[in-house]
């Protein structure tokens, strides 16, 4: 018997440091894979370029070895890239950061509007063109 729902499991996971750290690793490794593909470079070729072993690259891509500033710069160089790092203020519908970095509360009506827009988007995703258009046609005539 399952003791927690998906929602409960996911909500608790997203608050944890391990989840957030892995999010950064996934972001970096996805960018590396994209650039490797674009440049036509294999793991072993990348390893040769930065003078490490191929298994080391595999470990980095698996997230088993931590990236250092040095390893990121070396990999970026090897992939003909620079590195840009941004710290992004957390934003959500309950609190935005204005131009001066102060947290502001959006108006209540706007929060409602955002919720309605989300609901509408979800409805449209599950919109079945065939049955819905038939229903519309039937009702119109």
């Amino acid at each position: 018997m399952s003791d927690q729902t998906f929602h409960e499991l996911f909500t608790s996971a997203r608050t944890e440091l391990g989840y957030k750290v892995d999010g950064v690793i996934v972001e970096i490794t996805e960018q590396i894979k994209d650039r490797m593909k674009a440049e036509g470079i294999s793991k072993s070729e990348l390893a040769d370029k930065i003078k490490v072993s191929a298994p080391y690259i595999t470990k980095l891509l698996r997230g088993e070895t931590n990236f250092t500033a040095e390893s990121i710069v070396k990999i970026a160089d090897a992939l003909s890239c620079g590195v840009e790092i941004k710290l992004v203020p957390k934003t959500n519908v309950n609190g935005w950061v204005d131009l001066f970095g102060k947290t502001i509360e959006p108006r209540r009506e706007f929060q409602v509007w955002v919720q309605e827009a989300r609901t509408y988007r979800n409805e449209m995703k599950s919109f079945d063109c065939t049955t819905s258009s038939q229903a519309f046609f039937h009702e119109s005539h």
Binding site: S2, D3, Q4, T5, F6, H7, L9, F10, A13, R14, E16, G18, Y19, D22, G23, V26, T29, E30, I32, K33, D34, K37, T58, L61, R62, G63, E64, N122, K125, S126
Partner: protein, 131 residues
């Protein structure tokens, strides 16, 4: 059979299959959320990333297996298998530790066939988890 929507995003909606009141993916996630917490966090990250930005390119984390079955993976540890339905839906079938790979993959294919059959014959039910 029930397709339970567990995550919605700009790129994909993610569903998990429930059959006879049993959801293999939920049971597995509940199990590893206690015994293998880091693996569990990585899998949740994989689902979130996929829903929001699309299928991951890094095959150490998401990999096509065969016959349309894919795996969310934590190398050497755990797998959650899935398949794509159209261009915007990922359906999770089952999860297992890597020592049970063969049986797990076979089970994923069977579940996919039953899902497609249920969909084709109109007895697939959709339900939403509390997103």
């Amino acid at each position: 059979m029930i397709a339970l929507k567990i995550r919605t995003g700009d790129s994909f909606d993610i569903f998990a299959l429930e059959e006879d009141g049993e959801c293999k993916v939920l049971e597995f996630l509940n199990l590893i959320s206690k015994s293998r917490r880091q693996c569990f966090l990585k899998l949740v990250n994989g689902f979130d990333r996929t829903a929001d930005t699309g299928l991951m390119q890094n095959e150490e984390r998401f990999k096509p297996l065969h016959a349309g079955i894919f795996e969310f993976r934590v190398p050497g540890e755990v797998r959650i298998l899935c398949f794509l339905d159209g261009s915007g839906i990922v359906v999770l079938t089952n999860g297992f530790t890597t020592d049970k790979m063969e049986a797990g993959t076979r089970h994923a294919s069977e579940l996919r066939d039953r899902y497609l059959d249920a969909k084709r014959n109109g007895y697939l039910t959709y339900r939403e988890d509390n997103l």
